[in-house]
């Protein structure tokens, strides 16, 4: 015991470490700074900073960030307040608090105002690049079937109207076009009947589908807008799709993203494969096995 200058007996302010026993470690809490609560700010974010000793005896700072949301306030009449305290009946009798019958949606739903068809959203498009509009709501991908050039003009306005379609068009087809005269009795599917023009168009679309990227190991509430947001930084996206289980409404864990440009798809694959997204590690690869 230490005697203070004024003669009063003071309790020791610091315990001698040798006198402490292992399981009294909790008493050391007074050595820790007091917990702080940074109350809800205008966004409703509340931070609670606590200090603890972890198992190894180290001082640990735990920061908990929560979002305080105000549910709609219901002003109840007197009768309604009475009804609030009615006992549960019917099938609700054995309900426990943890039953998941009533859940607040994790998605923020808005009253979506209708937008005029084809009007551009306010986001800035890449300078002069008509392709940048692709993938945004309401915009249209202009495809010319004759020259296969995207975004510049429609087929009827093609400067190369008279020229034959590009020879590349035939590379991917397994068999060349067959004139109907050679095998007059066999059924010739429409795509092979001799209309080369349409083939160039499908080649266009197929080329776009070669820029298709498959994304797997998606979390269950990932949807198209999330993928779009994630992938659009690599370039214009023409289509996004997320496979969803119709019954449960949860994502089946995979989806496809179609880029307009192959290079963007390549970069997206190299950057996002292995990327952590919503507690899962994404797997991003080409949708079809061949890359070039």
């Amino acid at each position: 015991m230490v005697q203070g200058a004024n003669g009063a007996v003071e309790k020791p302010s610091k315990m001698r470490w040798g006198e402490l026993e292992e399981d009294e470690a909790e008493d050391l809490d007074f050595l820790l700074p007091p917990p702080r609560v940074i109350g809800p700010d205008e966004n409703g974010i509340k931070k609670v900073i606590e200090y603890k000793f972890n198992d190894e005896g180290n001082k640990v700072k735990i920061t908990t960030v929560t979002r305080v949301r105000k549910l709609a306030k219901a002003r109840l009449s007197k009768k309604a307040v009475e009804r609030r305290s009615w006992p549960k009946f019917g099938d609700a009798v054995h309900e426990d608090v943890g039953s998941r019958l009533t859940m607040v949606s994790t998605e923020e739903i808005v009253l979506e105002r209708p937008r005029a068809h084809g009007s551009k959203p306010e986001e800035s498009t890449a300078a002069g690049d008509p392709l940048a509009q692709v993938g945004k709501k309401g915009a249209v991908l202009m495809v010319c079937r004759t020259c296969g050039k995207k975004g510049d003009h429609w087929t009827s306005k093609c400067p190369y109207k008279d020229l034959a379609p590009q020879s590349e068009a035939f590379v991917d087809k397994p068999s060349g076009p067959e004139p109907t005269a050679s095998k007059s009795n066999a059924y010739v599917p429409p795509s092979m009947r001799g209309g080369a023009v349409e083939r160039a168009g499908t080649e266009m679309r197929r080329r776009n589908d070669e820029n298709s990227v498959r994304v797997t190991n998606l979390s269950e509430d990932t949807r198209e807008p999330d993928l779009l947001e994630l992938f659009r930084t690599f370039g214009p996206v023409s289509r996004v799709y997320v496979a969803v289980d119709q019954r449960t409404g949860l994502s089946r864990g995979f989806g496809f993203v179609n880029f307009v440009n192959k290079e963007d798809a390549e970069r997206a694959i190299s950057k996002l494969n292995g990327y952590g997204y919503d507690n899962l590690i994404l797997r991003v690869e080409w949708a079809t096995p061949r890359t070039n």
Binding site: R84, W86, F89, E95, T102, L111, V244
Partner: protein, 326 residues
């Protein structure tokens, strides 16, 4: 807004109704068990067990003590709202569909479907104060509808009964004599089955929704067509905001797209229209199946929708909903 999802029903929803004070929400579905929820947080209060068939509609008395339900098991039942006990059962020869309490809750109108040889009819029953005095006798039976009657409600001041159904004609009947007073005009009226009808809070006008992908606003007294709201999908449910001049339509799949169905989840939406300008204000997405039931809270600050997916979605409006300008 963050809708509250309530999955209490295993089968598609058929009807939703708020009580007068807006603190209770009653839901009916094809799973035989109407359920009551608290309208502020979606917590389930209880279920009414007893029906043997799909429950098509319900109505609650003004004091929130009595509930009446109409079911495909050819009965309509009166329930004690508080504890779920059955007070009385009205039996019919065919499935009962639409039920509605009159102003004052002394009478109720119940419609029955056509079934084998029996034609569809509208029954008016007296509701006794004391359930022990309740009798099953009909005060009035109205016949004349061709095909199923999907909805029948009391007109202003209980003077008339307004009914609509599969033959796409709206009929106004005198509730005392049973005489048919008016029929809606065939030219301007709906072209296909009228699936739903909702009366304004003051009874002066009502909205009908039909499979012909439109909804129409009518005057209750003269049956004049006032407005038409056009959508892209058959309309299964309609609701009117008691606070603002909004009409909400909920519907089903476009018939032509049934085979190429867009499997993107949550695409079915409740569409908001300006009641007077007939223009679309917006849509609230989220249901995984066609919307079959819509109801507005009497305070106008929240609404709920019930879908084919068995979910009830309860939406409390954000403050900017009340500032929408066209």
């Amino acid at each position: 807004m963050r809708p509250i999802l309530m999955k209490g029903h295993e089968r598609p929803l058929t009807f939703l109704k708020y009580n007068r004070e807006g603190d209770l929400l009653f839901s009916c579905a094809k799973d035989h068990t109407p359920t009551v929820w608290f309208a502020d947080n979606g917590e389930r209060l209880g279920t009414y067990r007893g029906h043997n068939g799909a429950v098509w509609s319900c109505d609650v008395s003004r004091d929130s003590m009595r509930l009446i339900t109409g079911s495909a098991d050819q009965t309509a039942k009166l329930w004690n709202v508080q504890n779920g006990s059955q007070l009385f059962t009205f039996s019919f020869d065919s499935p009962a569909r639409s039920v509605d309490f009159s102003v004052g809750d002394k009478l109720a109108v119940i419609t029955t479907d056509p079934f084998m040889e029996v034609l569809s009819a509208i029954h008016v029953k007296r509701i006794a104060r004391d359930p022990a005095d309740q009798s099953g006798e009909s005060v009035l039976i109205l016949r004349g509808h061709q095909g199923r009657i999907n909805r029948a409600v009391w007109g202003p001041l209980n003077k008339t009964i307004i009914s609509a159904g599969e033959d796409s004609i709206i009929r106004v009947w005198d509730s005392e004599t049973g005489k048919l007073l008016k029929e809606s005009d065939k030219e301007s009226g709906h072209k296909k089955t009228i699936t739903s009808l909702t009366m304004a809070a003051d009874g002066s006008h009502f909205v009908t929704g039909s499979q012909d992908k439109s909804a129409k606003l009518w005057d209750s007294r003269t049956l004049t067509l006032l407005k038409t709201y056009v959508t892209e999908r058959p309309v299964n449910a309609v609701a009117m905001s008691p606070l603002l001049d909004h009409v909400v339509l909920g519907g089903g799949q476009d018939a032509s797209s049934v085979t190429m169905t867009d499997h993107r989840a949550g695409k079915f939406e409740a569409k908001f229209y300006d009641k007077i300008l007939q223009e679309e204000i917006g849509g609230v997405k989220g249901h995984f199946g066609p919307i079959n039931a819509l109801a507005f809270n009497p305070d106008g600050k929240s609404f709920s929708s019930g879908g084919e997916d068995g979910y009830v979605r309860l939406h409390h409006f954000d403050p900017d909903y009340f500032n929408i300008k066209i």
